[in-house]
Subunit: 475 residues, 4 copies
């Protein structure tokens, strides 16, 4: 019988073994409290719901339900205060319990007495662990959505201030075409929006109640699972008990979505690191988001962006790890699944560390519109020259070839595209001087030609900005 | 100017270089036709839509549009016949083109003459490649949905035949509780259903038109993107041109979902491999899904299941590869993105090879209900004995401890749980003999106690079966 | 100037910024002390070596070198006692320093005064971090080698006790051929030996001194790197300063080797989980390495093996993460590299948790030789019957076909291979009855036919056992 | 009995099944010839060695051995010619065989008659496949070594030409310190050298003979494995038959090393893509290694470098895939292992496509020494100013702080570090003007201060260049 009188381990099992204790190295490997302690809030919530369910099933008397609920209330309060604050990483002190389920049962026993030992009826750690982790994940998803919206808001705010600034769009890291700086800022808003959608879709598949599945076959006590579902705020009840205890799709899906978010952050970070270099010089991070070097006094390092890029690696590793964990396991619960939590927590924690730092760095950065405008050299107008030739009757392939030769000519003279003498241009194509004249107004005119939806003309960007603002407002 | 007179390379670029040709090893690395040729159908469809859009924008005359459309019609026909059949892997012969876009332009030029060279106006390979790949992916998703439904149907059919057969549910690969065989079959239906949902969600984010984004800044020709969208059957128009050409989220998301599907198949496969072993002996694969050994004449190997399990590895590798590919790239198009196709094709091909083979293997397997019933030994009733003690007034923790000691007693005598002499049982707990008598009816009675939703009682399983049948019917 | 008077942050940089402090969320992201504090021992060692090098280069006076060395000695002592013990995970209390390098400089300043601020000359955190991490890794590799040898020893000890026991070797999880149990135990020793070799090879590439590379270009102070190397016990000096600060191959290689070790453990674990099932029943884990269920009183779960299998997932995730981290980074140091430590530590910690637990579980398991012998049914002799037919003049292909038909015949009668009536056997091939008689001696005779090197005959296994024992002794 | 008369499938197994044929979708999944046909050369070599071994064991008569050898000789010749050339990807036409082993046996039967069917004695596809794949891998490793040396040679050749050119070394993509361009080129030679070492170490573990291990228990025919080893050129004989057929460590190790090579290529590629941008402008790729845009006539894209970077993703995916494949498999052979080949081939093919293209691109690139020298602005001398202050008696921490304030002063005036008026400098620190004067000689002087081994001073770089040249010469 379990012993709850202090340090001697309180166990949810053991009478079947001659020797109750695990070898120390097995104990160290097996004990999950240092990781799963973070589920204490959700575990207590589920515990209260279960007490009610047992009450309705006649396993607990009404006053026993009350005693358990009161005990849980006190526990939640004291655990919250012991955990010392509101973050979801705060946990009660580790008193050596095997896992959070053992901790909860032991603590309820200490608070409410023998009724605690009735609470275990009709369920197992298999359905309990799945229930608590799903509740935790639902909250984590809400937090991530807010953080993502926060970064979107920072990008949108910058976009609002940079509608009339230009920079080159790069492809292959070569200058390609001029675009509005706001257009570039907004190009990083949409990937984050897809991330939010993916998390929302994952949420629907997370919001499924496993409690009542028991160890594998369904609870032996005819609890009302629909009522449990409503009580705990899940959207659906799991349809198959074996699947319920062995399904970690929600972990895999959330972590995969987190990895893709990480990749988006790495791309934004890459752009920012490039733009903050001396060579580009478009962006200056605020001092509050820059670090220095212990050796080189002049350095001003974009560490936040670099760490965002680097931490995407953890997320990709986590996404792979969940899949490896599940690969080849038989249906139902296997102990391997215990590893799910460390992976999920790492992915969520990583994003929740990176997102606000990136939001702050973006919100406070200064864009150097003159520098980015200077980078919009005449070569960026090559496609416009070709388009002008097309308007003059050339096929695009012909126009492309003519402008290609013009580029070569200009390069060989070390001149800009618009600086090739008119007679030389005319020799390449009689229509070329006129086409060159047409684009001579420069990049500001070029961007205004891109009026298609999603294009970089002023009006199109303003429409896009409206749409982006709505995403942030909605969050 | 491009030369379309045969083997000399037709190129979509080049006049700007002194020396037109790539070094052979650069050419070999760069040329993507051997991979992207599979996009020929989608590329032709997009080509026809683009011709119409250019017509409406006044870049092509109506008769030019007609000429292009007719040429595309002929090309589609001859390519289909050259490709030799209906599968989406069939491709036209490789005549050395750089990529499928070059192939299409060259072939249209051969069929329709100079108008082909006008077709390139206002777009680039960046938006073209993204458009064709998205169209291809939409079709692939439809195919995957059907294959998944096919495997679900095979599982449901087996479940219908095995409602009254029992097997032990295993946790930790130890016999845990008796469940209906149908319950086990159905436990593999629900993960596949989540896969279908994930693919459906990914579909919504795939169905976004990039065409009109140009190289990066939006098309310089004011085409009507909304009309293009409707014409090509996309749900939405991409909101930002830079994002449109650099976004490969849909690839990452589809491949991640495919990897999770692969993991589900590996878990089903693991169960089947176990159950087909001499030691379990629950399942016999049909000869049409079994292979032999070149050395051991007696062998009857479950190769289909093993390959399904093994091929999940490719899918996990693919899922990691997409993320690595995208990690740290600047916004917009970089040549690295060319690798997206090989990864996506591999993931889709792998699933489309495994799913029908698994469906066939499941559909034709024979379940040995006697063997699986024999495995439901008395130890599986331990939780029921405890539940009976709880009904008799013990707390579950007490009952658990009593039964634990009973198990130890039985083991030490080499006896079954129900074969411990009554007086010995009574010595452990006076209520124990009655509890043992209560469960003596065996596993058939035990499963009937699990009436909760998702449980393994007959009625609950029949309701579950109805729900599963509906999923398959709907597909 | 840094302020070392307590909580106000001591920084190795900052004068170049208007505002010294980082925003809280940037600080939280940037601060690595919670992770890199584990390097304190190695950092102090390198610090002492550097003080001497600066002394020889004339930057520090001899008495300053002495003062620093004395301070480091006191620090090492007090940190060891604050860290509270000998494990390499014990760290000094977190007093808010940015990283372990800042902690060390601040503490030396507190102990030795102004001389501490001279110590930073000629190096940067880039070469310091690489040096400390390499030193740590060299020790970790020694620890891993010992743990691997410990598991090998447990396997060898079991092999010594099971030379004359038999079990079926399985391929495709189908019974294939009888082998000695010792042969099976030893089959898991060799993969671990390859792991040890891989770690040893990685060690050679880890044992390269980066100190003196400075931030990127080499130290501006002409220190004697060869002497530093000898002093710190490295095998070689890094040949290029840019490579020295950006190279994390040793992390990638160690973590990749760890992942393969994890996979080996997962395969051993899979065998053990299978063999511990009721269906196989070959293995019984000691109570000290078994756990129970909170719901099912009869359960005896092989958690150690399952966790070993599950934790291989983390290791694969870690191996992927290092590669993702490094992918696409420019040469030299980027802040991303800060993430290397968390990944490496996780991989080493995971193995160091799993290996001793598996060693204990293997050392104490009981093999049920009767059960495994019972599983060696007559079907395992099919290849021997074919071999006998070959000795009688049939080609192997003919013999294989004859025995295949015999197997089918036996199956259709529900009989064993040796129980098919002689006249029926003779009808399949006149030589068959004699061949069957030849193998009737059973599996014990069959294994003795495998005398080739690496085979399962007694003598071959004893030779193999000798070789395996030597590996363990050597460690 | 197998039917070798043409299209009807020749099978190495089947008599034990009622129905010989596999269902089409199972056949499609199972058939590996399209992948493993590449092993035909190695399979034929092993076949010849096996014939001799059977001859020595008395299973084949001497004239039978001769007949088989002659047949193999003819087959090798005709297969080589059918395969149409020398590359290791060329394969004989696919005539529908299940795998390369079936193809070989069928073809030998066609050439040499009934003796072919004796050849199968004493071995299985398990040891055959492992043997052929190891032979193939040994050759692939030789090829990779040569390709790696080729890229090293290209880098060394560029280094020889750029000893006296300077560029900024970047950390955090911020200009850090001036270094010789040769130093930068050489910084990419050493990672490739570690790759070569890793492949060499993997080679030692690949060069182990599995043949003779049979299906699992060791060959039933007492062949001389030591002689087989010598005949086939392996270094060692596998010590345990179960391990021999299930060990794929060599695949995992080679693919992991390939992935790290891929990461090195991605880092070199990243540097090159950066340096080829308009903003950096240090590098111009030869036309033979540059591509253009279909829309933007001015574009000059570094596709080779981008593809090298992108293809590292496949390699990381492959490295993960092997580990996932092996994770959780029981010891010995499982069909899952069939997937090893596609992964290994992909990794080797990828590197062998990328390495020569990168070598060509590096060999032919033009470095713009003026541009890279221009980028070495005065800020890069900040550490030198601090060093000068240290020589003048400041501690490094003090000097760092003074120079930090100088940097801020210079920035606020939009001036360079050396252009701050002397009196202002003196106000920051009286020793500062002298220190500034000391470094005024500029970056050429700065690099000469880095004389430590591995530093960027001329003499140190020349020594490094010698060492690098030796690596290439040795190959």
């Amino acid at each position: 019988v379990p012993d709850s009188s202090g340090r001697a381990p309180y166990r949810l099992w053991g009478a079947r073994f001659e020797r109750g204790g695990l070898a120390p190295e097995a104990e160290a490997l097996n004990r999950s409290f240092p990781v799963d302690a973070r589920l204490w809030r959700e575990e207590l919530e589920a515990e209260a719901a279960w007490a009610e369910a047992l009450g309705m099933a006649g396993v607990l008397a009404p006053e026993e339900v009350e005693r358990v609920r009161a005990a849980i209330g006190r526990l939640a309060e004291s655990a919250a205060s012991a955990a010392g604050g509101g973050t979801d990483r705060a946990v009660p002190p580790d008193e050596g319990d095997e896992d959070v389920h053992t901790w909860v049962e032991r603590r309820i026993a200490e608070e409410a007495g023998a009724v605690a030992s009735k609470m275990r009826a009709g369920r197992s750690r298999n359905d309990r662990a799945a229930t608590a982790l799903r509740l935790w994940t639902l909250r984590a998803l809400d937090g991530l959505d807010a953080e993502l919206a926060g970064l979107q808001a920072a990008l949108v705010a910058q976009a609002e201030a940079t509608v009339d600034a230009l920079l080159p769009a790069y492809t292959h890291l070569q200058r390609a075409q001029p675009v509005r700086v706001a257009h570039w800022f907004l190009s990083h808003v949409w990937p984050l929006q897809r991330d939010r959608e993916r998390f929302r879709d994952a949420r629907a598949r997370t919001s499924v109640l496993p409690l009542g599945a028991g160890a594998a076959a369904g609870s032996g006590i005819p609890v009302d699972r629909e009522r449990l579902r409503a009580r705990l705020g899940f959207d659906r009840v799991s349809p198959n008990s074996l699947d319920a205890v062995g399904d970690r799709d929600f972990v895999a899906e959330v972590v995969a979505a987190a990895a893709l978010t990480g990749v988006h952050l790495s791309r934004l970070a890459e752009d920012l690191v490039l733009f903050a270099s001396a060579e580009f010089g478009f962006v200056r991070f605020d001092d509050a988001y820059s670090t220095g070097s212990s050796l080189l006094p002049q350095k001003r390092n974009p560490d936040v962006a670099e760490l965002a890029r680097g931490k995407s690696a953890r997320l990709v590793g986590d996404a792979a790890a969940v899949l490896v964990l599940l690969k080849g396991l038989p249906a139902g619960y296997q102990k391997d699944l215990q590893e799910d939590k460390a992976i999920l927590f790492d992915a969520v924690d990583t994003l929740r560390a990176v997102l606000p730092a990136m939001a702050g760095a973006v919100r406070t950065l200064r864009w150097d519109a003159e520098a980015s405008a200077r980078a919009c050299d005449a070569s960026l107008l090559a496609a416009d020259v070709a388009d002008a030739l097309v308007r003059g009757g050339r096929s695009f392939a012909e126009a492309h070839a003519v402008v290609g030769r013009l580029v070569r000519e200009a390069e060989s003279r070390g001149a800009g595209l618009l600086d090739v003498p008119a007679e030389l241009a005319a020799a390449l194509d009689p229509a070329l001087p006129a086409a060159l004249a047409e684009v001579a107004a420069g990049p500001a005119r070029s961007v205004e030609r891109r009026t298609v939806e999603g294009g970089t003309a002023r009006e199109a960007v303003l429409r896009q900005l409206d749409a982006a603002r709505a995403l942030v407002a909605r969050s």
